[in-house]
Amino acid sequence: MSKRPLDGLRVGDFSWYGAGPIAGSTLAMYGAEVVRVESEAKMDGIRSVQPIAMNDDGTFKTGYNVSGYFNNYNASKLGIQLNLNSEKGQEIGYRLIEKCDIFLTNFTPRVIDKWNLGYEQIKVVNPTIIAAYAPMQGLVGPHRNFLGFGAVLTPITGVSHLSGFPERPPLGVGTNYPDYVINPGHTVVAILAALRHRNRTGAGQMIELPQIESMANVLGTAVADCLANGTVQTRTGNRGLISAPHGVFRCLDDPESVASPDRWVAINCRNDGEWRSLCSALGRQEEFADPRFATFEERKANEDALEETVSGWVRGLRAESVAELLQANGIPAGVVQNAQDMLERDPHLKARNYYQYLEHAEAGRTAYDGTPSHLSMTPGYHTSAAIMFGEHTWEVCERIIGLNADEVADLLADGVLV
C-alpha cells in the first residue's frame, strides 16, 4: 500500500459536535492517527441525535454508538474516555498531547480555560505542536464566550439573511451549514499549511479559527459590497446576477422518492446561445422569437414571465429527462436530488464510488462520506468504522501514553477514564 500523506502523524482530537470532529476525520482519512477524546462528564451531544440506526423490526437501536450523525464524522479514529474536569484527567491529557503532532479543539475559551488547554499551557509539554482552536467566536474579544452551535452560526454569519426568497423571513438553509465543509475545511487547510512550515523549520504554532470569521469570509461578496459601497444585500431566491433563467422548475412528481415526491430540475442559461439551445431542445423555437426573452437584459427584466414560461415547458416532464436532454445540448441542468438519489440513484456518484460503506459492531453496515478530493496516488479512505464510546481507552493509555496496566486500572477506578 502506498504511503499516505499524513502517515506517522498523530492528532489529539479534543473536539465535539460537527466542525471539529470532521476536521479530525479528514486528517484520519489521509493517514494520521487521530485520538478522539470524550467523556461522559461532557458527553458529545450528537451521539444521541438522529438518525439512529434501526433494528430489523423497525425499532431504534439504543446506546451511544448508533447515531449516524456522530458516526459519519468519527470513523478511522481511536476513542478514549478521559474526564478533563479533574486535575488527574488533565495530567493524562497533557501526556497524550506530548505524543501528538497536532492538537484540535472547537470548545469555547471558557472550557479551554477550565481544562487548562490554552496554547501557552500545552506548548510547555510539546513545544512543536500545531494547536488548532476553532471556537465559534474566537479565543478573544467581547463575544468570546457566547454560546453557539452551527444552528446559530448560520444566522449570525449572514447565511440566513442572504439565502431564500425575499418575501419569506430568513429561514436558514435547513442545516447547520457552516459546520460541515466551511469550518472543518478551513481548519484542515490551516493545519496542513502549518505542517509544511513545521517540516521546513521545525517550528509549531497556534491556529485560531473563529468559526464566525471563517464563514463570513466566504460570504465575502455581500460583506465587501457593504464595506466598500454601503450596499446591504438581501436574499434574492434562486436568481443569478449574470444568468437567466437561473432557478429550479417543478417537473412530474416521483412517487418512488420516499417522503419527497415533488421533483424539480435546476436550469441555468449563462448566455443567449444557451437560451437558444434550451428553446430548441425543448421544441420551443417559437418562444425563442419572443422579444421579452431575446437577450440577457430582456430575460432579466422579464424574469417572472421567463420563469413561468420555462415552468410550463417542464411541468409535465420527468426531471431526469429534462436534465439529460439539456445536458446533451450543453446547457447546465440537473435534478434537485434528495439523499435517496445521492446514495442509490445517481449513476455518476456510484461510478465514482464516492460513499464508503463500513461494518460497525453496533450500527451495522452504514454509509460514510468519502473525500471530494480524489488523490490519484494517495487517496483518502476510511480504515475502520466509527469509534464506539471509549472503545480504545486501554490501547491509547498503554500504547500511546505509555501507562502500565496497573496505572490504567487505577485511573479507571478513580473515575478519570470515564
Binding site: I212, A228, Y354, M377
Partner: protein, 415 residues
C-alpha cells in the same frame, strides 16, 4: 522577510468561478499564484457588484476581489498557438497546477497532467470541476446552481411551500475550492516528502453534498428522505423558542432548548422582568415551559414525543408570548442581552450587522486594501489566524497586470 507557510511554491492557476477561491487560499498563505486569464477576463471579472468609487470595470468586481486576492495576473489566449506555447512553458515551472476548465480542455491543448508530468515528476495537478474528471456526468455543463441541486443541499433548504432554495454565495464552488485546497496541500506534503507528484480530482457535487448534514445517513439508516421544513430543522412540530423570530428591526434565531445554555425558564424570567411573561411563569403553562429541554426534543426527534405533541395548544400559546416579547426589542440588543443571560440566541445578521459586529471589530478582522491611488476600501479578513505564518491578504491583480513581468522572467527560467 519571514518564511511564509507556502514560501517557494509556484501555482499556475487556470481558474474562473469554481477554483479561484482555492487559488486565493494558497496565495494568501504565501504561494506565488500566477492566474492565467483569457483576454477580457473570465466570468468572475464580469460579475456585479463593483467597487462603486472606482467605477465598474474588469478590475473592480467584488466577486473577483474576494476570490482572487494576493495573486498575479497573466493574460494568455489559450485559443492562440503563440500564447499556448507561453502557457506550456509557464506550466513547466509550476509546483502546482490548479484548473477548473471543462474536463479535457487543457489536455487537448498540451496542458494536461500526462504531458507535464515527465518534466515535473513532483507536480501536483489539481482539477476543480462540477462533477470531477471521471464518471458518466464528467462532461456535464456545470454552474454553482447545478452543483447545489445535484449535491442534495437545495432539497433541504426553504419553506415546504416554496421551490427548493439555494445557499447564497456560490457555495458549491466555495466547497469545491476548500476541498481542493485540502487535497492540494496533502498532495504537496506527499510530493515534498517523496518526490512523487499526482493528480487531485475535486468534484463540486461531492464537496457540497457533505453539507446535507444528516440527510445521507437518514436515508441510509431509515430509508426516508429529509425535506425542507422552513426553520424547524430536525423537529417534526413547531416548538417554542426554536427558529426565526421577528425583532423590532430585524430577526433573531432562537435555539434555546439546545444544551450548553440556560433553558426556557431563563427566557421567561427575562420576559417577566419586562412585564411581558403573559402567564408563562404560572401554571398551567409553567409546567410545559419547564418540560421543554433537550431531552424532550431528542425524544420528539425520535418519534417518542407524543406527550409533548399533544400539547400543541399550550406550545402555541407559549410561542405567541415569546414572539410578542421579541418584537419589542432591536435584534442586536436581544442577541447581546440574551447571550449575556446564557440563552442560545443568534442575530440574523445582515451584511451591515457583519460590518458593525462588535466581536469582529474588537478582533480587528477587517482589512484595508488599496483599489487605486484615490480609493481604499475595507475588506473581509481571513478565515483563520496562524501565529507564525499568517494569511496575508493583498489586493487582487488588475487584468494582465503581470503579463510582461512574468513572461520576461520566463525567458530566464525556461530559455
Amino acid at each position: 522577510m519571514s518564511e511564509r507557510a507556502l514560501s517557494g511554491i509556484r501555482v499556475i492557476e487556470f481558474c474562473d468561478e469554481i477554483g479561484s477561491y482555492c487559488g486565493r487560499l494558497l496565495a494568501d498563505l504565501g504561494a506565488e499564484v500566477i492566474k492565467i486569464e483569457p483576454p477580457g477576463g473570465g466570468r468572475e471579472r464580469l460579475s456585479p457588484p463593483h467597487i462603486a468609487a472606482a467605477g465598474a470595470s474588469v478590475d473592480t468586481s467584488l466577486a473577483f476581489w474576494v476570490h482572487n486576492t494576493s495573486k498575479k495576473s497573466v493574460v494568455l489566449d489559450l485559443e492562440s498557438e503563440f500564447d499556448l506555447t507561453q502557457a506550456r512553458r509557464l506550466a513547466t515551472t509550476a509546483d502546482i497546477i490548479l484548473e477548473d476548465y471543462p474536463v479535457g480542455y487543457l489536455g487537448a491543448r498540451g496542458l494536461g497532467y500526462e504531458k507535464l508530468k515527465p518534466k515535473r515528476p513532483a507536480l501536483v495537478y489539481t482539477s476543480v470541476t462540477g462533477f470531477g474528471e471521471t464518471g458518466p456526468h464528467a462532461s456535464w455543463a456545470y454552474s454553482d446552481l447545478i452543483g447545489q441541486a445535484t449535491g442534495g443541499v437545495m432539497t433541504l433548504a426553504g419553506d415546504p411551500d416554496d421551490p427548493p432554495n439555494t445557499i447564497y454565495g456560490n457555495q458549491a464552488n466555495i466547497s469545491a475550492s476548500i476541498h481542493a485546497a485540502q487535497g492540494t496541500l496533502l498532495a504537496l506534503l506527499h510530493a515534498e516528502a517523496t518526490g512523487q507528484g499526482q493528480r487531485v480530482d475535486t468534484s463540486a457535487q461531492e464537496a457540497i453534498s457533505i453539507s446535507q448534514e444528516t440527510a445521507m445517513q437518514t436515508w441510509d439508516m431509515q430509508r426516508t428522505n429529509k425535506i425542507r421544513s422552513g426553520s424547524k430543522g430536525m423537529l417534526p412540530i413547531d416548538v417554542p423558542a426554536f427558529g426565526t423570530y421577528e425583532a423590532a428591526d430585524g430577526y433573531v434565531f432562537l435555539f434555546i432548548l439546545a444544551p450548553g445554555g440556560e433553558d426556557l425558564p431563563a427566557l421567561v424570567a427575562w420576559m417577566a422582568e419586562q412585564g411581558l411573561a403573559e402567564g408563562l411563569e404560572r401554571e398551567p403553562l409553567a409546567e410545559v415551559v419547564e418540560s421543554l429541554n433537550m431531552e424532550t426534543l431528542t425524544a420528539l426527534m425520535s418519534g417518542a414525543g407524543a406527550d409533548l405533541a399533544s400539547k400543541v395548544t399550550q406550545l402555541s400559546e407559549i410561542d405567541t408570548a415569546i414572539r410578542k416579547f421579541i418584537k419589542t426589542m432591536p435584534a442586536r440588543v436581544i442577541y447581546e442581552e440574551g447571550q449575556a443571560r446564557r440563552l442560545l440566541i443568534g442575530l440574523v445578521s445582515t451584511p451591515a450587522d457583519i460590518a458593525a459586529n462588535s466581536q469582529l471589530r474588537a478582533r480587528d478582522w477587517f482589512l484595508t486594501l488599496e483599489v487605486d491611488q484615490a480609493v481604499t476600501i475595507e475588506f473581509p479578513g481571513p478565515p483563520y489566524r496562524l501565529s507564525e505564518t499568517p494569511a496575508e491578504i493583498s489586493d487582487p491583480p488588475a487584468l494582465g497586470e503581470h503579463t510582461d513581468a512574468v513572461l520576461a522572467q520566463l525567458q530566464s527560467e525556461v530559455p
